[in-house]
Amino acid sequence: MKIINRIIGVVFLWLLFTSIAQAANPTLVIYTYDSFSSDWGPGPQVKKAFEEQCGCTVEMTGLEDGVSILNRLKLEGKNTRADIVLGIDTNLTAEARATGLFETHNLSLENSALPGPWDDSMFLPYDYGYFAFVYNRELLKNPPASLKQLVEDPQGPTILIQDPRTSTPGLGLLLWIKKIYGEQASEAWANLSDRIVTVSKGWSEAYGLFLKGEADMVLSYTTSPAYHIIAEQDRRFAAARFSEGHYQQIEVAGIVKSSQQKALGREFLAFMLGDRFQSIIPTTNWMYPATLTASELPPEFSTLIDPSPALLFDDKTVARERKLWVNEWLETLVK
């Protein structure tokens, strides 16, 4: 009996202590994608850096990708545990806004390195990148110099792309071609279709197949070669610069309306735009940080192509037209 009493006593004390510790140490829950929160992503460093500053605990939940984060939030609605959502891109912000689950951030984006202006009152960008076709310099001597050349040269290189129904880069290429070709996008896809080796479910399959030598080029990011240079000291890979410009992806974060930690959330967003967070991004997320200038990036980034002009549809257009455009793409490619 005494032992049981003692155990109960210990458990009680433990509960008391942990609850005191929790009260003194608020927790900030961040929903993000798993390549951000994983061991080799920016997550662990970001968590450590912010915890030192805020006297709080950061808890990251890694979901599959931006789409999953938004869906999770929709499913949980007001009951969500999330205080911050980090990792949706501008193709999703209109949809995210429409849920009414986000709070205005009341912060301004100073020192923006983004090529365009930023006037979103709910979401703030933390990094951005550009889609590009990556190739092996030793195997492909004359990469196309424009999207039009890639599309219209029947002798052009073979490519691996991702499915816009299941993958973010896949959707990016769809929008890229739409931006350049407009009403003629279907014809462009028809021209291209013979040289598409395959359309994969996600980025990983396509990139893996590319490294196995299954096609001349793969749809990826302009920053992909930086990974091979910095992490593998391999300089064979390059992204082809297209003269029309490259379609842009901007990744953003926002505060969840139902959060009990909004002040802390705002502190996190401000931290996110600061140098400490931003300098973690280039070599962990392999994207351009949103507020660092070119000179503040790792030197290897200067070897990357200049993707300007940046191409981007506004988020309302994407939300409105996406289904239609994807169906148009499908109709062309299944012929």
């Binding site: 939940t61 890694g62 129904r165 490619l333």
Partner: protein, 521 residues
């Protein structure tokens, strides 16, 4: 009697609730913010017709291309008896089940891609690639499922055949084919279902959106389009298509005419060895072995030390192991009671109902885990912290997915057992635990071991459900592989895949040995 009858339906009712409740949960999402009402045109579109047609067509072709050669291979294994590496080879045949699809795609491409060992070039992408991959996944599985059929042919049948001077053809016609005929439709159905729900492999090796299966459409409607109602409708469509196919196939399946005999069913005999059978085994071994070998080579030349010394890898391995064993246990228990019910119904002469009960367990595989998982999430999230429930839910869903494997491996043996020993048990008043201990267990432990091993492999390779919940502490090896792949860490991912394969081999060996007893498969 009515009591046992009611208990026969217990497992099917639980299964129905586990499938329908999450779907109802999803359908109730109508009022959620950001919900878009479903697009009615969708159902009349040429798109959905094409998707249905393609799903069925590729699944049927894949099933035939996997199972027909598997008959030859299983026969070769059965007739060539014991040889060196036989059990190792058969355990390797359990491996493809655990290989995550992205890894399998890379393995297939290493062999048949343009820089591969047997290059097919661009013609790989299309139905060729789909078939190559599906046969790689399913031929070995079908061999494992068909092999026990030969072992169940009583020894005195073979002796009788010899006395009557049977030729090879006669043996096949009068001894092997009648036994095979009973099990074949079930195996075909299982492989058909596995191919019907195949997704990343079909999309990637199929060459593009022409190769869209229903599973892709379900994934699309639950993710990018976020239309739960449409996802549920598509899932129900897939389920009913599969039930339809199952009903047609089961028409060909006769319930066995089991002779009440005490003859031992072992049939390994040296006298049936033939060169042709060695060639068949060799080819099957090479076919299954090549993609695995390419993985082994890639893995061993990868950053072994760096990956293996990561504590996170071993946590994930531990999680994977728990998941596999948990799902296997639950699945085998559920399968046991379901089959018990079914064979009791059959005993009472209610063959249709017995088949129906079995069917419930057999077709559950085609209910998309994404739909069930999301549905359970919707049901649970208002009441509990879902993150603390990730493991139970993942184990539960995987156990459900594994049920058809249990049924396939256990059903024939269980029915025979029931028919052979029911009168004996009745006259000895053996029932309940005693009957299980004395009669059922010793005779059924081998198929139980195999089914546990198969379910464990399936669950250990699963990605769908765990990815849905996503939380940093609960990664499994397949999830880790996908995360590494998604972060340029492809060499690391290959090493992780190798660890997963090793773990799976270990579990397969352990379960077959510990449950199934010392005699090899």
């Amino acid at each position: 009697m009515t009591l046992t009858l009611r208990s026969a339906y217990r497992v099917p009712v639980i299964l129905a609730v586990l499938v329908l409740a999450p779907m109802a949960g999803l359908l109730s999402l109508g009022q959620l913010p950001g919900f878009e009402p479903q697009d009615l045109q969708f159902w009349q579109s040429a798109y959905i017709r094409r998707v249905i047609f393609f799903s069925l067509w590729q699944a049927l072709l894949s099933a035939l291309f996997s199972v027909i050669p598997a008959i030859l291979v299983a026969r070769a294994f059965a007739l060539n008896g014991n040889f060196r590496f036989r059990s190792l080879l058969l355990r390797l045949f359990g491996l493809p089940l655990v290989v995550p699809s992205v890894v399998a795609v890379l393995g297939i491409v290493s062999v048949y891609g343009s820089n591969g060992w047997l290059p097919l070039g661009r013609s790989l992408y299309g139905i060729n690639g789909i078939l190559l991959a599906h046969v790689f996944f399913n031929l070995p599985l079908a061999v494992r499922l068909l092999l026990p059929i030969w072992q169940a042919i009583p020894r005195h049948y073979w002796q009788l055949g010899e006395q009557m001077g049977f030729s090879k053809w006669h043996r096949w016609r009068y001894l092997e084919w009648p036994a095979l005929k009973e099990g074949l439709p079930g195996v075909l159905l299982l492989v058909f279902m596995l191919c019907l729900t195949s997704f990343a492999v079909v999309l990637t090796l199929g060459g593009g959106p022409k190769s869209t299966t229903l599973e892709v459409a379900i994934y699309q409607s639950l993710r990018f389009d976020f239309d739960p109602a449409q996802a549920v409708m598509l899932a129900l469509l897939q389920l009913s298509l599969c039930v339809l196919v199952a009903v047609v196939m089961l028409r060909f399946q006769r319930l066995p005419e089991v002779e009440i005999s005490t003859s031992s069913p072992a049939s390994k005999s040296e006298s049936y060895r033939s060169l042709l059978n060695w060639v068949v085994i060799l080819f099957a071994g090479i076919y299954v072995g090549l993609p695995l070998a390419s993985l082994l080579i890639d893995g061993l030349s990868g950053p072994l030390g760096g990956v293996v010394s990561n504590i996170y890898l071993w946590q994930s391995a531990g999680n994977t192991l728990m998941l596999g064993l948990g799902a296997a246990t639950l699945s085998v228990i559920a399968g046991w009671f379901l089959l018990r019910g079914s064979s009791e119904l059959a005993n009472l002469g209610q063959f249709r109902r017995a088949q129906l009960v079995e069917l419930c367990g057999s077709v559950i595989y085609v209910v998309p885990p994404l739909v069930i998982g999301t549905g359970i999430f919707v049901l649970l999230s208002p009441y509990v912290d879902v993150f603390e429930w990730v493991y139970p839910v993942v184990v539960l869903v995987n156990a459900m997915m594994g049920l058809p494997f249990v049924i396939r491996t256990l059903s024939p043996a269980m029915r025979q057992n029931q028919m052979r020993y029911q009168f004996l048990c009745q006259s000895l008043a053996l029932s309940g635990w005693n009957r299980f201990r004395i009669v059922d267990w010793p005779l059924l432990r081998r198929p139980v071991g195999l089914s546990a091993a198969l379910v464990a492999a399936l669950a250990m390779g699963d990605l769908g459900v765990i990815a849905l919940f996503g939380t940093p502490d609960t990664a499994t090896l397949p999830l880790l592989i996908y995360q590494q792949m998604g972060a340029y860490l492809i060499p690391q991912a290959t090493v992780t895949a190798l660890v997963l394969l090793g773990l799976c081999l270990l579990v397969f060996w352990g379960l077959e040995r510990s449950i199934g007893g010392k005699t090899d498969a």
